[in-house]
């Protein structure tokens, strides 16, 4: 009679498990972030609402105020922070310490897939088998993990994570960074955006993820001459969302052609230098993100 074969859990003489390696790799994220005082995600369920511009402007505003700021561009397929901050490759690396983040003129430390890809090239993965859908999510999560763990962020007051569009993104970030301090949600007033952002906020709430507040972007078009605001949408999505989810509406920001042009030219720092009411509003949002800002 064949003797009983021990089960998987009864065999533990040699430890080289794949789950163990995954846990060890994720542990390196925590070790790297030990010198980061605050980690904040900037999220939106909807693309095209100005989330990345908000992330870059908040980061630059904080850096100009003397804070040590990192910006992790987690939008691997549509990275834009490097362009907005006027940063380009190459990156330096030290075998022992990690990859040095690129730096903007104001001192924002940035890591972005844009710094790693050929100009205009899409992020394409090596697929020995045409079944990328099976492991695409794993590859992307692993890439973001390496952005956290393998970058020599140094001591930071705040690390801002610019999340890609998608309802699940904040929850995914929280899975990777359990010590996440909170998130700022960005919407535009229109109903299509509100619907998507509402789903993101609902998921965040259901998981108990901390929300620092809501920013309504493109609330109107500001006149270049007198500053008078012309509404761009009939809806007041930010106000509605804030009431429905009991989240503070931190700011309602107009579309500003000069800021948009500055972001295109990688000149957000210069735009902030010029001051003005919108720059002050962004500084106010930034103060909520920085250490000492209100936590829920």
């Amino acid at each position: 009679m064949t003797p009983k074969i021990r089960t998987y859990h009864e065999v533990d003489e040699i430890e080289s498990s794949l789950p163990g390696q995954v846990a060890e790799a994720e542990g390196r994220v925590g070790a790297r972030l030990a010198s980061v005082e605050r980690i904040v995600g900037v999220m939106s369920g909807k693309g095209g609402v100005g989330k990345s511009l908000m992330s870059a402007a908040i980061a630059a505003s904080l850096a100009r105020a003397g804070r040590r700021v990192g910006l992790l561009d987690a939008d691997l397929n549509g990275p834009s922070a490097a362009r907005m901050l006027g940063i380009s490759a190459p990156l330096r690396e030290d075998e022992a310490c990690g990859v040095e983040p690129a730096r903007s003129a104001s001192g924002v430390r940035l890591m972005s897939m844009a710094l790693l890809l050929d100009h205009d090239a899409a992020l394409r993965w090596k697929d020995p088998v045409d079944a990328g859908f099976v492991w695409r999510g794993v590859q992307e999560r692993e890439a973001v993990r390496q952005f956290f763990a393998d970058v020599d962020w140094g001591a930071l007051d705040v690390l801002i994570v610019d999340l890609p569009p998608g309802t699940q993104r904040l929850a995914e970030l929280h899975g990777l960074v359990p010590d996440l301090d909170g998130a700022v949600a960005v919407t535009i007033p229109g109903r299509a955006s509100v619907d998507a952002v509402a789903r993101s906020l609902d998921l965040a709430r259901s998981r108990g993820l901390p929300l620092l507040g809501l920013v309504e972007n493109m609330s109107g078009l500001a006149c270049d001459e007198c500053g008078a605001l012309t509404p761009l949408y009939e809806a007041e999505g930010g106000v509605d969302l804030a009431a429905r989810f009991d989240v503070e509406l931190i700011a309602r920001l107009p579309f500003d052609r000069r800021l948009a042009a500055a972001a295109d030219k990688g000149a957000i720092d210069e735009w902030l230098e010029g001051g003005g009411r919108l720059a002050e509003e962004i500084a106010r949002i930034a103060s909520r993100v920085a250490p000492g800002g209100e936590r829920p």
Binding site: Q21, A89, E93, E95, V99, W125, V129, V138, E142, D150
Partner: protein
């Protein structure tokens, strides 16, 4: 995944890994008692799923390099993404080894260099040569890289 020698009732130990470069992987395990060996062969899909996780069947033999997964898995990495880092650490690279390393695409060169350095350090090797590189490729199953 574990391999058990049924006759000895002992867990088999990882022996060696080979990546022949066609997307498949062979991992050999040996019974510590009777020396019986068995090979686990994975198809390209299984191999890719494991490598996407940034893990290695049988366990890691050298620590992961910076952005190892990104550099290994991204097909559109820029050759201008990284500045060549100056030599560091206890391992000297002789001229032939440096010349050979220069043929590695720059997107993955830093990663490959670190893997070779770690291999040498763990074995007390002070000078990197093409022969050592060949040995490391074989021992670490880097043929597919």
């Amino acid at each position: 995944m574990k391999f058990l020698c049924v006759d000895c009732d002992r867990q088999m130990a990882f022996e060696e890994r080979e990546l022949p470069g066609d997307g498949t992987l062979a991992a050999v395990f040996r019974c510590p008692d009777c020396d019986r060996m068995t090979a686990m062969l994975t198809n390209p899909m299984e191999t890719q799923l494991v490598s996407s996780l940034g893990v290695q069947v049988g366990g890691r033999t050298v620590p992961a390099a910076n952005f190892e997964g990104i550099r290994s898995e991204v097909a559109t990495g820029s050759e201008e993404a990284f500045v060549e880092s100056p030599p560091s650490g206890p391992v000297r690279w002789n001229t032939d080894a440096v010349e050979r390393l220069s043929h590695v695409p720059s997107f993955v060169r830093g990663m490959v260099k670190k893997i070779y350095n770690e291999y040498a350090k763990e074995r007390g090797i002070e000078e990197m040569t093409p022969d050592i590189m060949d040995r490391a490729r074989s021992d670490l199953g880097l043929e597919g890289m």
